[in-house]
């Protein structure tokens, strides 16, 4: 029997051919894999990668007080969120909250007592200044002896004031207040005593007499709240027990229903709590009247604030401000500043202020808070990481708005004495601006004959066209301004004596000079800048004038650089250059010499940002040049805003795009915002609020190369704040913080 070998199969078996076919298969598999990976990658990029995604959200109370919320960048990949009484540090890298801490409530202090203490400290500060002045001119032993005696008195008074300040007088309970009858005659007497110039501390009868005046509504609400709180507490306990014992579906359903009723009652209680703050402001009226300026003034905020101290300063209704100082995160809210440890969120300090915080300056080590200490004084507090807070009081002069709309025209707010502050890190500059010669020039605020131009445009445009509508609207606005008599603008052309002082560096030489036009003060990382009219003066930290330059036109009157987190500052210092937008030009100065490098004509520039690559981005309202002369002419104000990328080296416009309203640049990325309003939305808000879209907000990411949009993110709700860090865009809405992130673009 022989072995049957299939000869055909043997013949076809070729080891090298098998290897080749295996290699082909491998290559084919590789190609297919590569194709699949490429296609998959491309699909992922198309559907996911190129568009932003929600990286994380933080829920906030839907009906929370939006005025008490704030969002700041706390460092690379870190966000600081304040809202609903809590502080949250958010890590953008891990997309998680690092910690959440509760802001301690500030201790309510008797308003009258606080006002008296503020005035006392202001007087002590003035006394101290007088003593310092006297010391420089001491001659003879008798004078020295007299000086020493006065200095001893001063120190005794200071020690006594500090001791009294250390134990603040709490707000008396409403029941105690109600016992004393309100006395109308007490108010004028108190007003007399609270006048600046009166020495406080010895006679407190007038201040004590103020306390009986309390709004009866407040007491009613407080009593109701107390009763309801007790009822709610009992209800809660009963409800918890019911829920625990509920076994049948019927019992569970009943418990759920009761829970809903409880929630409604709780909401009502919270509403009452909120409303309590408002009548209280009224209730503090006697104190406010005594220290506040006369009625008719101080109705607008001039950037420093104009609030007299009242008991409600402590209620935390003021917008919080943050100071990021190394490992300390200071939150300044209402009339106290709280320090949180960056790593754990532990409360490290709680510093009581004389009144509402007006401005906050900070650097990596120090925060400086300017707080209201009455209508004509401020408290300046320097907060270090470990050192005790340093505090000084200054008489600032009555704070009035930079301008006001009077019955017939725009009036500049001219004061005999005004004080402005600016800071570079821990170095605070106090600028005293004293009126030397009052001079107000008037000019027409509406261009003569502009109605003829508008009528011609309206007549020439197609019926019902956008042009016709614009022209007619402008005509109506101009007519309305004319009817109100607002056709004249008054411009402050007064002469001021300006003195630069350093509250925390007494040895720094004082600089004084005479300037014409409204004085504005601000600071950059290395310079203190003072402008008046078309003059720009730069100073160093020792009050030494470094250089002087000419501006194209005066700076538009703006709020201080301490506001809005500095986001809307039309100035920036970078790369040894100062970029500053005045009324009509974007100027690039050499920061050391003040030499003009270039100027770019542009009216209405309101924001300058620089990205990580050193490109300059500018947001401008793109106003007509004529708006510099005719402040109220509606026909000159319908330009579309523009966003520009500018080469900081030569001032050349790389690209410019229209329609966007705000701008943020960070790292290599630039984002813009556009909010549109539809007439239908407004109609819905009135007739069917449930269906109404609150707002139509779109965030765009722009190409750095040509300004074209790379992606857009639509949200149908009001945006309260935006913070940008590279590819992360944090959007603060009423009910949540939303962080979006684009991975590729």
């Amino acid at each position: 029997m022989s072995l049957q070998v299939p000869t055909k199969e043997i013949a076809s078996f070729n080891p090298s051919a098998t290897r080749r076919s295996t290699s082909v298969s491998v290559v084919m598999a590789l190609i297919v894999t590569l194709l699949v990976v490429t296609l998959g990658g491309a699909s992922w990029y198309y559907f996911f990668g190129r568009k932003p995604k929600v990286a994380m959200t933080v829920a906030l109370e839907l009906n929370g007080d939006t005025a008490t919320r704030g969002l700041w960048s706390a460092g690379p990949d870190e966000l600081l969120l304040v809202g609903d009484g809590d502080v949250r540090l958010i890590d953008l890298a891990t997309r998680k909250k690092k910690w959440t801490a509760t802001i301690p409530k500030s201790v309510p202090v008797d308003a009258g007592w606080q006002a008296a203490m503020n005035a006392r400290f202001v007087r002590l500060q003035q006394w101290s200044d007088e003593l310092s002045h006297k010391r420089t001119g001491l001659t003879g032993e008798a004078a020295i002896k007299e000086f020493n005696a006065e200095a001893a008195k001063y120190h005794a008074a200071l020690t006594a004031a500090r001791a009294e300040m250390a134990t603040p007088r709490a707000t008396p309970p409403p029941a105690a207040i109600a016992k004393k009858p309100a006395s109308a005659a007490a108010v004028p007497a108190a007003a007399e005593h609270l006048k600046p110039g009166h020495v406080f501390g010895s006679d407190r009868s007038a201040v004590d007499a103020l306390r009986p005046v309390v709004d009866a509504n407040v007491q009613i609400i407080e009593a109701r709240m107390k009763k309801r709180a007790a009822k709610l507490q009992a209800w809660r306990t009963a409800l918890d027990a019911k829920k625990a014992n509920a076994k049948t579906p019927l019992q569970k359903s009943a418990a759920t229903e009761e829970e809903a009723r409880f929630a409604a009652e709780l909401a009502e209680q919270k509403k009452d709590e909120n409303s309590l703050g408002k009548p209280r402001e009224k209730s503090a009226l006697p104190v406010s009247v005594a220290v506040a300026p006369p009625s008719g003034e101080n109705k607008e905020d001039d950037g420093i604030g104009n609030d007299a101290f009242s008991s409600d300063d402590a209620s935390g209704t003021a917008k919080p401000q943050a100071a990021i100082c190394g490992d300390r995160l200071w939150i300044v809210e209402g009339s106290h500043a709280v320090a949180f440890e960056r790593s754990t969120g532990a409360v490290k300090a709680d510093v009581r202020l004389a009144g509402l915080a007006l401005r906050v300056f900070s650097d990596t080590a120090t925060a400086i808070v300017i707080a209201s200490a009455g209508a004509e004084a401020v408290q300046v507090v320097r907060l270090g990481a470990d050192a005790q807070p340093q505090s000084s009081y200054f008489f600032t002069g009555r704070r009035v708005p930079a301008f006001s709309m009077s019955e017939h025209s725009v009036m500049p707010g001219i004061q005999d004495l005004r004080t402005e502050f600016a800071a570079i890190g821990g170095s605070l500059l106090r600028v005293e601006i004293r009126l030397k010669e009052k001079r107000v020039t008037t000019r027409d605020a509406i261009k003569a004959g502009s109605e003829k131009e508008l009528e011609s445009v309206a007549g020439g445009a197609a019926a019902h066209s956008a042009d016709e509508l614009k022209a007619v609207t402008a005509l109506l606005r101009n007519d309305s301004a004319r009817l109100r008599g607002e056709t004249i603008e008054h411009v402050d052309d007064s002469t001021y004596e300006v003195a630069l002082k350093r509250p925390f560096e007494p040895d720094a030489a004082e600089w004084t000079g005479i300037l014409r036009g409204r004085v504005q003060v601000f600071s950059t990382p290395t310079l203190h800048l003072v402008t008046a009219g078309t003059k720009l003066l730069a100073f160093d930290r020792a009050n030494k004038k470094l250089w002087e330059a000419t501006l194209g036109s005066p700076l538009p009157i703006r709020r201080s650089d301490g506001e809005s987190g500095g986001a809307s500052r039309p100035w920036i210092e970078a790369g040894g250059r100062l970029f500053l937008a005045d009324g009509s030009f974007l100027n690039a100065f050499d920061a050391k010499t003040g030499q003009v490098v270039w100027r770019l004509p542009g009216v209405g520039i309101r924001k300058i940002q620089m990205d990580g690559e050193g490109s300059l981005y500018v947001q401008s309202d793109n106003l007509s040049v004529e708006t510099l002369a005719y402040a109220m002419d509606a026909s000159l104000r319908d330009a579309a805003p523009i966003t520009m990328r500018i080469d900081p080296a030569d001032g050349k416009i790389r690209w410019q795009v229209e329609k966007y309203q705000d701008l943020w640049a960070s790292g290599k990325d630039v984002y813009v915002l556009r909010e549109t309003k539809f007439a239908g939305d407004l109609e819905n808000q009135v007739f069917s609020p449930g269906r109404a879209i609150q707002a139509r907000v779109k965030i765009y990411k722009l190409s750095r190369e040509n300004g074209s949009p790379l992606w857009e993110w639509f949200q149908p709700r009001h945006l309260q704040a935006v913070e940008v860090q590279g590819k992360n865009v944090a959007l603060l809405f009423g009910e949540e913080l939303q962080v979006i992130r684009s991975m590729c673009r």
């Binding site: 197609a462 078309t534 194209g552 003009v596 270039w598 100027r599 040049v625 004529e626 001032g651 416009i653």
Partner: protein
């Protein structure tokens, strides 16, 4: 019966054999109607929109002149009130070059949008040798037909775009004066626009 059922097919002539070819063509009248509609539409839509664009360009041109006035005024503020002088300049472009970049890094403000010269050479005529505190006279304008003084009624701008001094063609052009006010005029000077002594009108380079 048979006679009734059978019907000899009708022979078609040549024109009846290709009826579709005939029906697909426009009749002369139809063509006329279409052309008429097109012309009417053009007149209704394109005419006004061209005029609108012209008006927009003229407004933007005036805004550029105002910006130019801003930069010239700033220059004068820093030069004892004197605007840039001619100083051997052969045209407005050379005279205005002293403004770049210290008074304007953006050359597009020297151009008229109607000419389509984006950021290139100046399109405006400039009167050199004036002072900020001098009497109100013409400081700059759209390119003029020549470099001479213009009396009332004299031709100042050309009728055709592309022609010397024809930035806006028949629409005329813009004038800006020392005090910063702009006048939009036709192609002839509405009043005496004579140059003050010592002043020199510089047109843009050809």
């Amino acid at each position: 019966m048979l006679n009734r059922q059978f019907k000899a097919p009708k022979l078609l002539n040549r024109s009846e054999m290709v009826p579709s070819q005939k029906r697909s063509a426009f009749a002369f009248v139809e063509l006329l109607v279409v052309m008429f509609i097109v012309v009417v539409l053009y007149a209704v839509v394109v005419g006004p929109s061209r005029e609108y664009l012209q008006r927009q360009k003229r407004a933007r041109c005036a805004e550029n002149l105002r910006k130019l006035h801003l930069t010239l005024t700033l220059y004068a503020n820093e030069h004892d009130g004197a605007f840039p002088s001619a100083d051997g300049a052969r045209n407005s472009d050379e005279a205005l070059a002293v403004l770049v970049p210290k008074y304007s890094s953006d050359r597009s403000i020297f151009t008229c949008p109607a000419t389509g010269h984006a950021g290139g050479q100046a399109d405006f005529a400039y009167v050199a040798g004036l002072r900020k505190d001098g009497p109100v006279s013409l400081l700059a304008s759209d390119a003029q037909v020549n470099a001479e003084s213009k009396r009332s009624g004299a031709k100042i701008f050309a009728d055709a775009e592309g022609a010397r001094g024809g930035n806006h063609g028949k629409a005329g052009g813009n004038l800006i004066f020392i005090d910063g006010h702009v006048e939009t005029i036709g192609t002839a000077a509405p009043r005496d626009l004579s140059l003050p002594p010592g002043a020199k009108l510089l047109n843009p380079a050809k």
